[in-house]
Symmetry: C3
Subunit: 678 residues, 3 copies
Amino acid sequence: MSEHRTPQIRYGGDYNPEQWPREVWEADYAAFDEAAIDTLTLNVFSWATLQPDADTYDFTQLDEIVERAVAGGRDVVLATSTGALPPWLAHAHPEVCRTDFQGRRHVYGQRHNACPSSPVYRRLSAELAGRVAERYAGTPGLVAWHVGNEYGGFDGGCWCDLCGAGFRDWLRERYGTLDRLNEAWNATFWSHTFTDFEQVVPPNMLSEHWRGPDHTAFQGITLDYRRFMSEAMLANYRDEKERIREHDATTPVTTNFMGMFRPIDYHRWAADLDVASWDNYPPGQREHARMALAHDLMRGLKDGAPFWVMEQTPTITASRDVNPVKRPGVLRLWSWQAVAHGADAVLYFQMRQSKGACEKYHGAVLDHAGRTDTRSFREVAALGAELRDLGDAVLGARTPARVAVLFDWDSWWAAEMTDGFNRHARYVDTVLGYYRALWNAGAQLDVVPVTADLTGYDVVVAPMLHLLRGDVVARLEEVAARGGTVLSSFWAGRVDEDSNAYLMDAPGPLGPLFGIRVEETDSAEPGVVHPVHLTGPDGDLTAGAGLVFEVLVPEGAEVVGTYGAEFYAGTPAVTRHTFGDGEAWYVATGLDDAGLAHVVRRVLDRHGLVGPYADADDVELAVRATDGRRFAFVLNHATEVREVAAHASGTDLLSGRRVEAGETLRLEPTDVVVLQED
Amino acid sequence: MSEHRTPQIRYGGDYNPEQWPREVWEADYAAFDEAAIDTLTLNVFSWATLQPDADTYDFTQLDEIVERAVAGGRDVVLATSTGALPPWLAHAHPEVCRTDFQGRRHVYGQRHNACPSSPVYRRLSAELAGRVAERYAGTPGLVAWHVGNEYGGFDGGCWCDLCGAGFRDWLRERYGTLDRLNEAWNATFWSHTFTDFEQVVPPNMLSEHWRGPDHTAFQGITLDYRRFMSEAMLANYRDEKERIREHDATTPVTTNFMGMFRPIDYHRWAADLDVASWDNYPPGQREHARMALAHDLMRGLKDGAPFWVMEQTPTITASRDVNPVKRPGVLRLWSWQAVAHGADAVLYFQMRQSKGACEKYHGAVLDHAGRTDTRSFREVAALGAELRDLGDAVLGARTPARVAVLFDWDSWWAAEMTDGFNRHARYVDTVLGYYRALWNAGAQLDVVPVTADLTGYDVVVAPMLHLLRGDVVARLEEVAARGGTVLSSFWAGRVDEDSNAYLMDAPGPLGPLFGIRVEETDSAEPGVVHPVHLTGPDGDLTAGAGLVFEVLVPEGAEVVGTYGAEFYAGTPAVTRHTFGDGEAWYVATGLDDAGLAHVVRRVLDRHGLVGPYADADDVELAVRATDGRRFAFVLNHATEVREVAAHASGTDLLSGRRVEAGETLRLEPTDVVVLQED
Amino acid sequence: MSEHRTPQIRYGGDYNPEQWPREVWEADYAAFDEAAIDTLTLNVFSWATLQPDADTYDFTQLDEIVERAVAGGRDVVLATSTGALPPWLAHAHPEVCRTDFQGRRHVYGQRHNACPSSPVYRRLSAELAGRVAERYAGTPGLVAWHVGNEYGGFDGGCWCDLCGAGFRDWLRERYGTLDRLNEAWNATFWSHTFTDFEQVVPPNMLSEHWRGPDHTAFQGITLDYRRFMSEAMLANYRDEKERIREHDATTPVTTNFMGMFRPIDYHRWAADLDVASWDNYPPGQREHARMALAHDLMRGLKDGAPFWVMEQTPTITASRDVNPVKRPGVLRLWSWQAVAHGADAVLYFQMRQSKGACEKYHGAVLDHAGRTDTRSFREVAALGAELRDLGDAVLGARTPARVAVLFDWDSWWAAEMTDGFNRHARYVDTVLGYYRALWNAGAQLDVVPVTADLTGYDVVVAPMLHLLRGDVVARLEEVAARGGTVLSSFWAGRVDEDSNAYLMDAPGPLGPLFGIRVEETDSAEPGVVHPVHLTGPDGDLTAGAGLVFEVLVPEGAEVVGTYGAEFYAGTPAVTRHTFGDGEAWYVATGLDDAGLAHVVRRVLDRHGLVGPYADADDVELAVRATDGRRFAFVLNHATEVREVAAHASGTDLLSGRRVEAGETLRLEPTDVVVLQED
């Protein structure tokens, strides 16, 4: 990115002027100036215009759009336009259309509508990317290539015969022999022993599934199909990137991710992106911890390098049943939260509202009337001015985290398709529970894959680490052995990389680290809460627990929490095991927020990692540091005023005000301070 | 209808004696005499009997049925029997069977099972209608032809390739050029630019939709398909009517509608019906306002001419999860309500219960045992006697309404497939809210299309007038300009006829009339209620509001209600704009019943249109007038006794009792008075 | 069974050692010894291994498994392995895969995946069964053949064209002529008159159904398809049994049923099973009455002969959303309950947990680690010891019931697909309500088909006997005529064998027996409760009633309960009719448990059939008797201690303790006493 380093956090977003008469453009650009917009993303959905038939490419309109966009010195992100098929292509080659999880070949419609295995689609999408790159490589102000759009966004993939063939090739590659395949899938169960790779079909509602994607007769088949499909779409991305690189060796290439998005294993994609970017559309209005987790996950894709928020809405989304507007100040607060967690770009979908179709009421910088005198535009413009005034202060700065949370798509996939325990215990809910407790405690966090280097962390938290692969067990043991702390939860260490159960006590190979074994796994309906008695140096606590209750037998671990109900009352619910110079904690049940806060505080206290504002509800401290400079972002997510004692002296880069350590910082709701520490 | 004028409100219903041995018929007719039945609808579902194979038509049985029916001087309505395919036809021509919204071609079953675009179906249904007409035209007592049955009743249409081809023809006709088509659908969004009409496919779950019929990527495509499908079924109706007219130039032709039925735009069908008729099956037991709305909507189809209730049940329906019986007196009350709103026929489905299949427990005049000593039969017979005794008193009389409610299928369709605001705000719920307030206030109402002549109305209420077309804006302005009052609500004036957003402030072209602009549209989950403070000459009121909260900027309008919560507290929620000699009111939020009552009373008061029984809950006054005679129907829908002061002097045609204006009318629950005013 | 009589209740279960390396086997067998396991079920799902391609059969592995299993003197049940297709077969012959209720042909996956009408499947499944039988007939210790597995377990059948052809053949056989077919289905309704058998298609979501299996336009068609499909699967079973009998004339043949399982009419299958067996997986943790009903239903299949529990789980099931573990003592309690109700075998699924796929967490005797020091294994072993110590004491003993409950698949099917009353009133819920009242009262019960000999019963209870067939009316009348009591409920006697309504008052031909007629059938939403006033010699009771409220006219019956609400307040809700020397009771509404208890106690009191522990909540007394010996099983299902006065003197076969009649028996929660009465 260095050669594209800009003097500020990028600000702007998706702009689709092809939907407007040319005379509107100038008014748009005047408004962009007013809002200090410096970056526009162009050409996201124009395949049908760029290539109106099999033999014709026409860049007339795009030339004009790009020319105008960069004319005023703005930067542009140029998309390849392959996120939606053109009608003529679907009509000429019906097999380019995806087949859904119900096994139905779709006809033309929507977006994200291509079969990733279709040779025609692969050839033509790569060709289009190549032609776009050929034409626009070297354009002044071109700062990134944007391939496709929100991969996997509709239903998570394709289940057609072409994908079936691709899957079989992938399996031949992965397993080599049928014996190994049959072993990996435990195929003797229900007489599924395959005697020819050709017998394998995609797992969907016409084959191994019932009820839906999480209910499969063979977890191994479905898990492998998820891996295959994630890689099949990655191959689509690579097709295009490769063609771009034929014409442009250096400009970063990316695609917009979607945070905790189950269909695609972003960790396996990350190496192919030059910069991580994602679209931030939280499902509710009080999701600050969830957004923080997603930002950290995205930042973790590229080892902590700054990422981009490629899309967010200035006002409302359009896709939910109920779409409330962002309250005053919230757009600013959430934008700064993104920056605080490592974003070097804060972009919108979109710059001007569409006239028609399903996103015509999706929020935009400019509404249908093109007004600049609305609350929404005023907030957009004010934020633009702040970002412009901040300049390059925080660009490239990184989060100094000593706590890592492991996030693992394989465990997510495997855990949520598991029969036998409790379908209501969900992976992201569980991870978010632990993340929220850490975030509330003010720890600076990284969210990393199970393959990450863990040597830099004092604390590693691995909630519901269901599936174990590679050397993760050894690396977790090393964390504890050298004095760190490892924390995990129920359902950890249950299955191997094939999602087969370990032929040993749970938590499988993690047993020695945690010093316990799981003898039984009880479950209860949502809403059933049992007490758990937790002890601690700062007092005891009776917390609540639900959904899952593992009955533990300590094998070296100390009991720090016990069940208070059911036939296992008095037996351990939370344990701590001394391992080398460190500790390994295990939480055997679905602890509530109070219980998790208690456990997490004890873990963080051991390493002095509780943050200065941990007792101020919903006041977030997120730090970025670079070259000896530290930027402390203090964000008030509460709906009330908060007063805290400043943790350090420095200058608030937004107000220019001087802050002394210990003085009272009064934070109005949605207030933001960016303290450059002395 | 004049040449078929009968001396009384028609009374009878669907009769299917072909399901019974001949010997039962005479018992049936004896019971019909006992119940004063004068009209029977015959031949609704007999295609397989009339035409047992491609080459054979056999009217033997129908001859006998018709002959017996008219033998006693009864009138008959003769159906064409095309509402359900015969098995042999589906077997010989699978393409006559409809393809559902999931894209699945059905095989034989059910009813309403034909593809409306199938040439074979069109040819054979028209042929059958022609042959029936040829044979029975001129039959003494034949008072109407009944084409098909409840068009669109199963899932609302067909999505097969034949319909796809028909849709493309319809589009060629509508748009002429692809450029115009692409503009209407805003096709550049998501790269949907069509380069050949042949690329267009029906919008369903295999193309533009997800979740269901209301979730489409392209509102324009789906809206046009709804229009096309409504017209495709109308073409089926016309096919048959045309053939009937070859043999009978004058007898009215109709088909039974279903009130607020979304799949078919009855306004666009109305011109092709000689008399409007509909089937009244309210979804609950306390639906008097909803039924009143539906009656008025049906009456509005033919400019206020009397309509027919073609079906209602004497006791229970059969199709709902829970089917309670009509309480004592309710059948009579609801039947008179129909008459009060303009019905000149009150017919049942059905005269005798089926022996088998899915409607065998649907209520009927005669039960399986053929009893005439049941509560149900006694109530049927008593009502028959009353109708007979009333004679021709009210026939042809019309509702003297000075208030019109606009009802618009295009707005219904467009609003309910809109992404971006609140999926829980529904068109009919909203219209019904306003209608109920008007009905409670005792206003005499018409429910009319947006194309209706509005010059006769003092007040025009247009709830959620989402889509604007034709000259509706000018005509609404004219209402206000000449001193009338216009009332509309949130989401008005958002889209044009293509369902594209106006490139101006909401409410679009309605802005000058209402003197406001909408700057933001906030939404909340069902159950969230915010206060709205309403002012008025008779006192202020704090009402509740939910679902949608538009933030308004007055541009000439006066504020008569303000929000009491959220960041827009204190800003206008209800406005009144002086426009010419009149007023235009705008309600920006989902006001509750109390709030709507307050607003509506203010509007009606201005024109002196609040009815005399407005303060007696659930006492309805509905008036019909003709040739200087006025009939005031006073109906007690409450479950308690109501005492009201008679609004006029006259004679109760049911009891024969003299009533003096001002005297106390004591109304038992379900009581009905038909006061012929002096 | 006599030649296979064993000295004890069989104990063991499904064992699939083919999923394990050979070295694990010996550890397994050591554990089996420890738990006193005497019976193993082998070869349930091994088709792909036994027949790896069309031309090859390979019994090497099975030889080894069988050899080892019987080596220690254990008995084996040998399955035919036809419950799941091998991949190669589905690949080679796609038509062997079932087509679901949505009309979608499935590809390979799951189990229970064969089309029962497929000639290839029928040929190859029979061939495999024959080869297995040929090879293993005469194996020492072989005590039963187990055909297929849980027939109908996935979605209840197949709706493909092959099944369509089979259905048409079945209809030709059943009806002979189209006239009779059309009459049976009341085909003139909605013009369904068939003019050729070839026009008939399977009723599913592409033909007669909407919403799902219970919503059909033609009950007659759907009812017949249910009968056909149940018989088509029976033909599969017979295919295999026939081939087994070619090699083994005497060893009992069975298949595992599933209790109250709607898709298959087990009564029509029963004659083809030599011993009834079933899989007991109750849906909740407090289902003792439901399990008792299911045991009795299964015992009733073979005229009261002992049955087998073929499967139950030692700990958790795997298929539900939430799978709690069986609490301590519950496995023992439920196992003894099975024996108390006539089980001569108590077997598990399964002996060792699978390593992978959807049942890997389903409970097993041995967990993944193979531990024998867990609570679960200890309970399994302790129960094994008890069963071994009991020896042959109760083998072959039968329940001395004087009360019969009628259970009828035809009524179940017909009632639950009925439109017009209340979809929430369900057959099994209704039967279970009456059964629970009888069970609470301590009556010894048989659950029998409507074709059963009723001469031995004092009381016959026939809840919701919706469909009448054969001479059931005459036999019920005979029960009452000779002094017995008959009890039935709402919706009785509504339809004939074709599910057509009787052309008479409800309850149809049952009217003379009950001395009432039903004039109206009212319904209410779930949760609506109306009072019913019940009288009785021991005091009156106001009970609650819901869902269905029939309005009765007594025609000879005495009123013993009246409605307390609605327009039918004061009219009969419960009646008693003297018929011959006996009585016939009719309950016209959905009485709550208190109301049913009141009614049932009065009925039982008349015959002195209330049990000795009727007042001790959840204490069950179940008796088996043979050759003059009586075994009284006393089971405490309560979660508290219960103290009761012993009803007889004898010896507790479990503890060896002597019990005197009248002494206080203290029963801890889950306690079991097996009292051999003096």
